[in-house]
């Protein structure tokens, strides 16, 4: 069973085509594993086993008849529970939306169905993708497969936990201040925040309109490119959707990084927010590995993390307040404490501060663009610490904001976080790569080059 649980989407697709494995067999095996591990990992809010098996049977008939839709046909996936699946509740892990049945599929859900993917169910999140690991919600917080006493990161917590735990090979998350890349870092998987506007947000419950991104989460880089291929594309009904024709995000996989110029933003983790020594050591190893592969690594200076973080916070809380004001006034008791505290500050931020944050944002975009004219890709820390103990609220509150992900929500550049080793306590360490607008394929190329010559992605968590 463990062998099936950790197959990649590419391996699954190949095994289906060779008739060595069937979609129904795989879905049944994963549903059994989910049932076994759900009491430990709490990755799911809702397991949709019957619908998943129905979809797997359809996929099996089509594949057997030679009508293969593509590389995700029959491949199981989990969706963060802010993404609409017609007929299922989209709860955002909140009592506020406990009876919110989606009338139609989100655009990304419809694209996955069209590709023949098998939707296993809806995954845990921080409440409304902002609340943090909470213990006063209708469902428990997800746990880290590498050590269930630890936080799996968030807000796409169930996505990260389920991938690392071998519950599914693919997942979708959302990223407004780092919520795809945080669980990718904490769980040692691959999470991409694509270029802003590359993936439609329609049918996904918003947190902050100008910062929200939907992103693919996987156990390896090639699968991440496959999933992005499926969900990317212009959506004329999403006002933030980019009129980009970017496609075939795996086209650069397998190319070496020889001669590629990589700008290392060292001040993020060295002086702005000094990282845990094991994180710093891991980043130095990443630098040496890429240099050994022929990349030309230089040093980049950007505005400080504190500046990026302030801009992100003002924009996020202002926009989130606009979404939640009515409910926070009328039914505050239906929110958990953390979400209530984090969603209300926007009520007290003047409109002028919001506009000034958006003005500062433009200069930050220019700063990152300038760095990316000199370098092909940037690299920096993702999380400054290994995952905190989830029972230690003080430590979780201290470490949660210690990260370098928000800069690229502010600027909209594609940014990928992935495992880059393990701490002495056996918890994943991570690195982040950033690229030019719509050069998501180049970001994936660098990540794949690092993955290819390292072994971290082959390690499995000590689960039963």
């Amino acid at each position: 069973m463990s062998e099936l649980a950790f197959l990649s989407a590419s391996e699954i697709s190949r095994a289906f085509a060779q008739k060595k494995l069937s979609p129904v067999e795989l879905t049944q095996a994963l549903l059994a594993r989910i049932e076994h591990l759900q009491p430990t990992l709490h990755a799911f809010i809702r397991i949709d086993g019957d619908a998943a098996l129905d979809a797997a049977r359809v996929a099996e008939r089509e594949i057997t008849a030679g009508r293969i839709r593509g590389p995700l046909h029959g491949v199981p996936i989990g969706l963060k529970d802010i993404i609409d699946v017609a007929g299922l509740p989209t709860t955002a892990h909140s009592r506020v939306l406990i009876d919110n049945i989606a009338k139609s599929d989100a655009v990304v859900t419809a694209k996955l169905r069209q590709a023949g993917a098998v939707i296993l169910g809806k995954l845990s999140t921080h409440e409304f993708a902002i609340g943090g690991p909470s213990h006063d919600l209708p469902w428990p917080a997800a746990r880290n497969p590498w050590n269930p006493d630890h936080h799996p990161g968030g807000s796409s917590s169930g996505s990260g936990a389920g991938l690392a735990g071998g519950l599914f090979p693919l997942a979708l998350g959302s990223d407004t201040g780092g919520s795809v890349r945080n669980p990718a870092s904490a769980c040692g998987i691959v999470g991409l925040k694509p270029t802003y506007g590359l993936v439609s947000r329609r049918g996904v419950f918003p947190l902050s309109f100008t910062l929200d991104h939907i992103g693919p989460m996987t156990r390896n880089v090639a699968d991440n490119a496959l999933l992005l291929d499926c969900i990317a594309g212009h959506d004329p009904e999403d006002p933030g959707s980019a009129a980009s024709q970017a496609r075939h995000f795996g086209r650069e996989l397998g190319l070496s990084v020889k001669g590629l110029r990589i700008g290392f933003i060292r001040h993020f983790h060295e002086t702005d927010m000094p990282a845990h020594p094991e994180v710093t050591a891991a980043l130095e190893i990443v630098e040496r590995v890429l240099e050994a592969e022929g990349a030309l690594v230089g040093t980049v200076k950007l505005p400080s993390l504190a500046e990026f973080s302030a801009v992100n916070r003002v924009i996020l809380t202002s926009e989130a307040w606009a979404i939640h004001a009515k409910w926070l006034r009328e039914q505050p008791e239906n929110y958990g404490e953390l979400a209530r505290q984090r969603l209300m500050p926007g009520a007290f931020i003047p409109a002028g501060d919001y506009i000034n944050a958006q003005r500062r944002r433009l200069t930050m975009i220019e700063a990152v663009n300038a760095a990316l004219r000199k370098y092909d890709v940037l690299m920096c820390a993702s999380s400054m610490d290994p995952a905190s103990n989830i029972h230690d609220a003080v430590e979780t509150a201290r470490t949660y904001p210690r990260q370098a992900r928000t800069p690229f929500n502010v600027t909209g550049h594609p940014a990928l976080a992935m495992g880059a080793g393990f701490s002495s306590a056996g918890l994943p360490l991570s690195v982040q790569f950033i690229g030019r607008y719509f050069a998501d394929a180049t970001v994936l190329r660098v990540a794949a080059a690092f993955e290819q010559v390292t072994v971290w992605h082959m390690r499995r968590p000590p689960l039963g």
Binding site: G240, P332, Q358
Partner: protein, 60 residues
């Protein structure tokens, strides 16, 4: 913060009911907002444009 000013802000935000039920959470929110005030520099050029650019239909 001056308590009268605090109460006035809560009233202006329409959060009196919420404050009645969760006074500590509202205070935390106000404190967070106050910490943010002044963190964003005002551009020297008063005509500086914000992001996103006002370009219809083109996206990034």
């Amino acid at each position: 913060m001056d308590e009268d000013l605090f109460r006035a802000l809560v009233r202006a935000a329409g959060l009196e009911r919420t404050f009645g039920k969760f006074p500590d959470d509202v205070r935390v929110a106000v404190e967070q907002a106050l910490r943010t005030a002044g963190a964003i520099p005002v551009p020297e050029n008063p005509t500086a444009e914000p992001w996103p650019p006002m370009r219809a239909g083109t996206g990034l």
